[in-house]
């Protein structure tokens, strides 16, 4: 049983084909990693799945329902939760209230249940100590964690995580991996875009590779990472780095 299916989904911005006929299918309860160079169109793929932008063509089905043209808030109600790569905290609210928004409007819980859910999520994501701090005063790393916490508070069945491990120390990264595994153990399906490959490999069952808006490879993690397509991309990135 698949939780989400993309069928030849495309999106262009002006002359730039950012998403080029991408097809994907994710089994319920499984975790997919997405890798690819900067600007490949990974975040755009999340925007399309979560409804932040609408696809030009192709169809997106979530849990059997066509959600291709559904507004973001209704996709959230259906069970799609997402974190933003560039955090969008509600700076005028406390960390707790940020998470409460997800629980109240995404999870559509009563006041009491939403409060309990928010506190749970703060504990799970290690943000409880910052509960009463204005989100505007959080560090970048804390803001990233808040992104995940808010999404989790909406009780998603599919969680989209966009580059949340960058910049973490080894112990912090291990903690994050634990937290995500924990979420997954509760039956939540996950798609995770991440450059920190070893963290990704500790969680996902499959990896998809995106380059120039196209999905160029997908499969079991070790085999995919060893594939010539991935090798070519990473070699390209290394030579770019050498030139830069």
């Amino acid at each position: 049983m698949t939780i989400i299916t993309l069928d030849r989904v495309s999106k262009r911005y002006g002359a730039l084909q950012v998403t080029d006929a991408v097809s994907l299918a994710l089994e319920r309860g499984s975790a997919l990693g997405i890798i690819g160079p900067n600007g490949a169109g990974k975040t755009t793929l999340f925007n399309l799945i979560a409804g932040t932008t609408l696809a030009d063509s192709g169809t997106i089905r979530f849990d059997g329902e066509d959600v291709t043209r559904m507004p973001a808030r209704r996709r959230c109600h259906r069970g799609i939760g997402r974190s933003f790569q560039i955090p969008h905290p509600f700076v005028g609210m406390t960390t707790y209230e940020n998470v409460l928004v997800g629980a109240t409007f995404g999870g559509r819980l009563s006041e009491r249940d939403a409060a309990a859910k928010a506190v749970d999520v703060l504990e799970l994501t290690g943000l409880a100590r910052k509960a009463n701090v204005l989100a505007g005063q959080l560090t970048l790393l804390e803001r990233k964690r808040l992104e995940m916490a808010r999404a989790l508070a909406s009780s998603p069945r599919l969680l989209l995580l966009d580059e949340i491990a960058g910049g973490l120390t080894e112990p912090e990264c291990a903690e994050l991996v634990d937290a995500i595994r924990n979420v997954r153990a509760q039956g939540v399906s996950i798609i995770w875009i991440e450059h920190v490959v070893h963290a990704l490999l500790a969680v996902v069952d499959r990896i998809a590779v995106i380059d120039f808006g196209r999905k160029i490879a997908e499969g079991e993690p070790a085999a995919t990472m060893a594939s010539p397509e991935v090798a070519a991309i990473y070699m390209g990135m290394e030579s770019e780095a050498a030139h830069g």
Binding site: A50, G51, T52, P71, A72, R73, R75, C76, H77, R82, F84, H88, P89, F90, V91, G92, M93, T94, Y96, E97, L100, V101, G102, T104, F105, G106, G107, R108, E111, A115, V119, D120, L122, E123, A128, A131, N132, R150, A151, S154
Partner: protein, 333 residues
């Protein structure tokens, strides 16, 4: 995990007590001060309410309206129409007018919400002008030159003038208190949570399940209904209405924006402080004529440049105090 959510602070409890004492004095004011001051206080109540409502729209919803005089004028005219044509008691006509204003706001808001930023502001002003020109056509309400509330209606409120003025004064006080309490309750509610979220990031709010359109529409319609009621009250106090006075962009929007800007946009305390400053200036400088307007303008520009969050913004930044907290504090036991 055991926790409590706290919504009051020592400062807010003290504020509530001070506010209650002030309220007691204001209720007793007709016996403590003269007629002229009572009229002035009635006017202050109107401006306090209008500024709080405008602030809710602009400071919390990002809906910068320069057309709220549409609802003020509509409220005034509905009061006159309900009292003259349908024989309503004027005090009863106020909530009925408010309801009509809220109903009117639904189609108007639906149209205006298609406009973004400056276009929304212009659209709101155009709507007010359309109403002004329309009411100028209603000859049974005096057309362009306006009408007075008939003596029979006026004496219907209370037979002697003293009691009438006291009743009207209390109505203004009750309306201003109600508006403040509603604004506070709204900001502390689930709707306020959505509103603050939308203000900080519309895109994140939507992907967390917040309905941006419906949230803003709810606030727009509530603000319109309450603004209409204040409009009814203003013209009940004046006993006379004309299209130019009812739909005056100067009186009901420019001064109101001045109050909110000076006091501090996006805060509950701001409009209260702004109203006091505005009336202090007006009462001391009004004799200067045009100079008075120049001083107001210069002051507004100065505040916008030097203290964009207004006088209350300055105070709360320094003292880190919030008299009317809308925040929620988690306490782990």
């Amino acid at each position: 995990m055991s926790f409590r959510i706290e919504r009051f602070t020592p400062a807010s409890r003290a504020t509530a007590i001070v506010a209650l004492i002030a309220l007691a004095f204001l209720v007793a004011a007709p016996w403590l001060t003269g007629r002229a001051n009572i009229r002035l206080l009635g006017e202050m109540f109107s401006f306090l309410a209008l500024a709080s409502l405008w602030n809710l729209l602009a400071g919390y919803c990002g809906l910068v309206s320069v057309g709220q005089q549409a609802f003020v004028g509509f409220g005034g005219y509905m009061l006159f129409a309900l009292a003259i044509f349908l024989g309503f008691d004027p005090l009863l006509a106020i909530p009925v007018a408010g309801l009509l204003g809220a109903v009117l706001a639904i189609p108007v808001g639906t149209l205006l919400f298609r406009l973004q930023g400056a276009y929304f502001a212009i659209g709101s002003w155009v709507f007010a002008e359309v109403l002004r020109l329309s009411f100028a056509q209603v000859s049974s309400l005096g057309g362009g030159s306006g009408a007075s509330l008939p003596t029979s209606v006026v004496t219907g409120i209370a037979s002697n003038r003293e009691w009438r003025e006291i009743l009207i004064y209390w109505t203004g006080l009750a309306l201003a208190v109600a508006v403040l309490l509603i604004v506070i309750a709204l900001l502390r509610s689930k709707l306020g949570l959505a509103l603050t979220g939308l203000r900080d990031s519309e895109i994140a709010s939507e992907s967390l399940g917040v309905n941006s359109w419906l949230t803003k529409m709810t606030v727009y319609v509530s603000v319109a209904g309450l603004t209409t009621m204040i409009g009814s009250f203003i013209f009940l106090q004046k006993l006379r209405i004309s299209p130019d006075a009812a739909f005056s962009v100067n009186d009901w929007t420019a001064y109101v924006i001045f109050i909110a800007v000076i006091g501090g946009i996006g805060t509950i305390e701001g409009p209260i402080i702004g109203t006091i400053i505005f009336f202090l200036l007006r009462e001391t400088l009004a004799d200067l004529g045009t100079t008075y307007l120049l001083v107001l303008g210069a002051l507004a520009i100065l505040v916008m440049l030097k203290a964009p969050r207004g006088v209350w913004g300055l105070i709360s930044e320094r003292s880190r105090i919030s008299l009317v907290p809308v925040r929620r504090q988690v306490r782990f036991d």
